[in-house]
Amino acid sequence: MAQEEIFTQEALDSFRAEVRRWVEQNRPPDPGFVLPQTMLSVTTDDQFTYLRDWQAKVYDAGFVGVEWPVEYGGGGRPRGYQRVVDQEMSRAGVPFLINLVGLAWAGPVILAYGTEAQKQRFIMKALRADEIWCQGFSEPSAGSDLASLQTRAVRNGDEWAVSGHKVWTSLGRYAHQMILLARTDPDAQKHAGISFFLAPMKIEGIEVAPLTKLTGEGGFNQIFFDDARFPAERLLGQEGQGWEIALATLGFERGASDGAAGGRSDVYSYDIGALIELARETVRDGRPALEDPSVRDRIARFATEAVAMRFSRLRTRIPGLVADRPMALPLMAKVESSEHLQRLADYGCELQGYAGSLTKGDPAAVDEGEWQRFYLNTYSMTIAGGTSEIVRNILGEKVLGLPKTR
C-alpha cells in the first residue's frame, strides 16, 4: 500500500502541477454577487448558473470524475488523483462544484448498484453538471429515524407512482434528478419495505416549496409528491434493497467511503489557516491577539486537532495502521471534522470581539461577515447526513461493540 503510493508520487506531482497551472489560468471572474458557501445554500438563478457553468468548465478540462471509468465519461486514473484536484481547487479558493449530490453520492451508488443502461444514462451528465441531482431521503417525521419514512411508491405496470413529502432537499428547485427513498412494501419490516429510485424531478405531481435557513439564505426545499409517475427502470437495485443502498449512500455522505468524483474537500474554505490569519489581524484588549496566551493555547488546540484529522485521513489508506478498528477512522471523520469546524468558527467570531456581532452587509464586518455565516452553516454539518448523536451511536455499536440503544 505504502509502496504503491511511493511508486506514483512523481506522476502525482506532475499532475498536481498541471492542475495548478490550469486553475491559475482559468480562475472564474468575480460574479458581482454573493456566492453561497456551499451547495446547500444556492438560492438564486444567478448563483446556480454561475456555479453550473464552472463545473462544466472544470469537467471539460478533465478534472471531474478523474478516477471514474472512461466509458461513462470519467478520467480513468488511479486512486489519489481526484484528491489532488480537490486540494488544488481548495487551495486556490475557486468555487465549489455544485453537483455534489451527483458527484459524491448518486454517482457512486449508481456505479455500484446500477445497470449498464443507468450508468450510461446518468453518470456523464452528472459529472458535467448537465443534470443536477438532489437527495430525497428525510421526511418531516423521519429524520434521525430515517427508516420510518412514509413516502409511498406503488408499481402500476411499467410505472411507479409516488406520493409523499420530503424535506431538507438542497437544490430541489434546480435539480433534474433525485435519489429517492420510498416505501414499496408497507407490510414488510420497517427496513425491508424500502426501495431506492433515480427519480426525475421535472414531471407532473412534484411540487417544490422553498425553506429559509437560519442564515436567512434559501437553498433547502420541501418536495411534495402527489401521484408523481415515472418509468419502472428508475428503480436502482432490487425492490426492497433501498435501505442497503441508502446506507451505502450515507457512507459516502459521511466520508466513510472513498470514490467521489470531486468537490469533497471544498465544502467550506474556512479552517485553522483562516483562524490563524484572523488572529494575526485581530487586536484584543489593546494587544495583538497573537500575543494573548489563551488565544495561543486555543490555536494550538485547533491546530493539533486539524493535524490529527489530516493524518487520520492518511492513516485510513494504510491497512496496517487501522487493523485493530478498521471502521473507526472513516466513521469518526464526519463527527470530528464537523464539530471541530463548529468550535473553530465559533471561536473565530469570539476573537473578533465586538465586531463579531456584525454580519454580512456591514462594511465593518471582519472578512465580510463570512465567519458568522460560516458558524451558523456548520450546523448543517453536525445535523445533515446523520446528526453527531446518530453517528456516535453507530461508532459505539459498530466500532466499540456496545449494545444497541433503543
Partner: protein, 376 residues
C-alpha cells in the same frame, strides 16, 4: 482562601421583587411574544413604540433613576429581574440601554444636570443610550478617541445599542486631556448615525460619527468614576439577560425533545439529548446564582460587586452560548431553518458575548483580583 473567603454578600429577595418579576413576565409574554419579536425583523426601527409607552407607564424606564427626579429609585436586583425577563422574550425594546444611560446621568450629573435630564429620561419622553465602544472594540471610557475641541466633538463610536432610536447619547470624550461624559442629541448638527448590520436583529445597533457636533452637556463627575459605578450594573444586567435567554432556549428545546418522536419515542428520552440539556440546566442555574449574588452585592454597596459581576458576565455568556448551540443542534433539521426560534437566541448570545468584555477577558481580571496582578 482569602479573596473568595472574604465574600460577604448575602442573598435577599423581597416580596416586592417577586411581584415585579411576575408582572414583568406576564407583561412581556403578551407584549413581546416571540411572534411579535419576529414581526419586527423587517421593521426599520426594530422596536414597538407601544411597548415603550407601556414600559414608561410601569416606571421601568426610570427604574434606577432617583425618585426625586421621577425615577423609581430601585436597584440592581430589580434591574436584573427585568433584564432576565427581557432576555427570555428577546425584547427588542432597548430597555437595558436606556436604563443604563439614565443611570450614567444620575451618577455623573450635577444637581442641575440631573434635574434637567432625569425627568424626561425617567418618563420615557427622551430615549437615551450609552455610546462607549470604539470602532476597534475597546470599551473602557479611558480608551475613547472622541475629542472635544472648541466646544465641538470629533470622533466615532460604534456598536451603540439603539443608535437609530435614541434621542440622546452619553459618550466619553476627551476634554483637555481629561475624559468626561458628554450628552449629545441625535439631531445635533454634525452627528451622523449609521445603522449596523447586526447578527442579532432583535437588538439594533449602530455607529455614531461626530463631525463637529456640540454636546448639550458635560457631566460633572469624571468619566472614570461614572464608569466604576456603571460597569458592575451593566455586567450584571447583561448577565441576567443572558440567563433569561439561556433559560428560554433550554425550555424551547426541552419542550421539543419531549414531543418530537424518532425511533418510536420522544427524543428527550435519549440520554444523548437529555444529559447535554441537563448540563445546560446546570450551567444556566449556576450563572443565575452569580447574577443574583452580583446584584445583591451592588445593592449592598459591597466590595464584592466587581468580582461577582465579572463572574456573572463570564458564566452567563458561556451558559448562553452552550444553551443556544444545543438548541439548534437538538432541533435537528428544523433547527437549521429560519422558522425555528433557536437561532434567534443563538444570535443574541453571539452578540452579547463580546459586549463589555468576553469570558476570557473577565477571567483574566478575576484572576488578578483573587491572585494579585501578574508581574509585568
Amino acid at each position: 482562601m482569602s479573596a473568595l473567603d472574604s465574600i460577604s454578600t448575602r442573598l435577599a429577595y423581597t416580596e416586592d421583587q417577586a411581584l415585579l418579576r411576575d408582572e414583568a413576565r406576564r407583561m412581556l409574554a403578551t407584549r413581546s411574544s416571540i411572534e411579535a419579536v419576529r414581526a419586527l425583523h423587517p421593521d426599520p426601527v426594530g422596536d414597538d413604540p407601544a411597548v415603550w409607552s407601556e414600559l414608561a407607564q410601569l416606571g421601568w424606564l426610570g427604574l434606577l433613576a432617583s425618585e426625586e427626579h421621577g425615577g423609581a429609585g430601585l436597584g440592581a436586583v430589580e434591574f436584573a429581574i427585568l433584564a432576565e425577563e427581557a432576555g427570555r422574550t428577546l425584547l427588542p425594546t432597548p430597555l437595558l440601554a436606556h436604563v443604563l444611560a439614565a443611570k450614567v446621568v444620575d451618577v455623573g450629573g450635577s444637581a442641575a444636570q440631573r434635574a434637567t435630564w432625569l425627568p424626561p429620561l425617567a418618563a420615557g419622553g427622551l430615549r437615551a443610550s450609552w455610546a462607549h465602544v470604539e470602532v476597534g472594540g475597546t470599551w473602557r471610557v479611558d480608551d475613547t478617541t472622541v475629542e472635544e475641541e472648541g466646544g465641538r466633538l470629533h470622533g466615532t463610536k460604534a456598536f451603540v445599542w439603539a443608535a437609530e432610536t435614541a434621542d440622546v447619547f452619553c459618550l466619553p470624550v476627551r476634554v483637555d486631556g481629561e475624559v468626561r461624559i458628554a450628552l449629545v442629541r441625535r439631531d445635533a448638527v454634525g452627528l451622523h448615525v449609521q445603522g449596523e448590520a447586526g447578527l442579532d436583529r432583535t437588538r439594533r445597533q449602530g455607529r455614531i460619527v461626530l463631525d463637529g457636533a456640540a454636546p448639550e452637556a458635560l457631566l460633572e463627575r469624571p468619566a472614570s468614576e461614572v464608569e466604576a459605578a456603571i460597569l458592575p450594573l451593566a455586567w450584571t444586567a447583561l448577565a441576567a439577560e443572558s440567563v433569561g435567554g439561556a433559560t428560554a432556549a433550554l425550555d424551547l428545546t426541552a419542550a421539543y425533545a419531549a414531543t418530537r418522536e424518532q425511533f418510536g419515542k420522544p427524543i428527550g428520552a435519549f440520554q444523548a439529548i437529555k444529559h447535554p440539556l441537563v448540563n445546560v440546566l446546570i450551567a444556566t442555574e449556576q450563572a443565575r446564582s452569580l447574577v443574583y449574588a452580583a446584584a445583591c452585592a451592588i445593592d449592598q454597596g459591597n466590595d464584592d460587586a466587581v468580582l461577582l459581576a465579572r463572574m456573572a458576565k463570564a458564566g452567563s455568556a458561556d451558559a448562553y452560548g452552550f444553551a443556544t448551540s444545543r438548541a439548534i443542534q437538538f432541533h435537528g433539521g428544523f433547527g437549521f431553518t429560519e422558522d425555528c426560534d433557536a437561532h434567534l437566541y443563538r444570535r443574541r448570545a453571539l452578540a452579547s458575548r463580546p459586549a463589555l468584555g468576553d469570558p476570557d477577558h473577565h477571567r483574566a481580571r478575576i484572576a488578578d483580583q483573587i491572585l494579585g496582578a501578574r508581574a509585568p
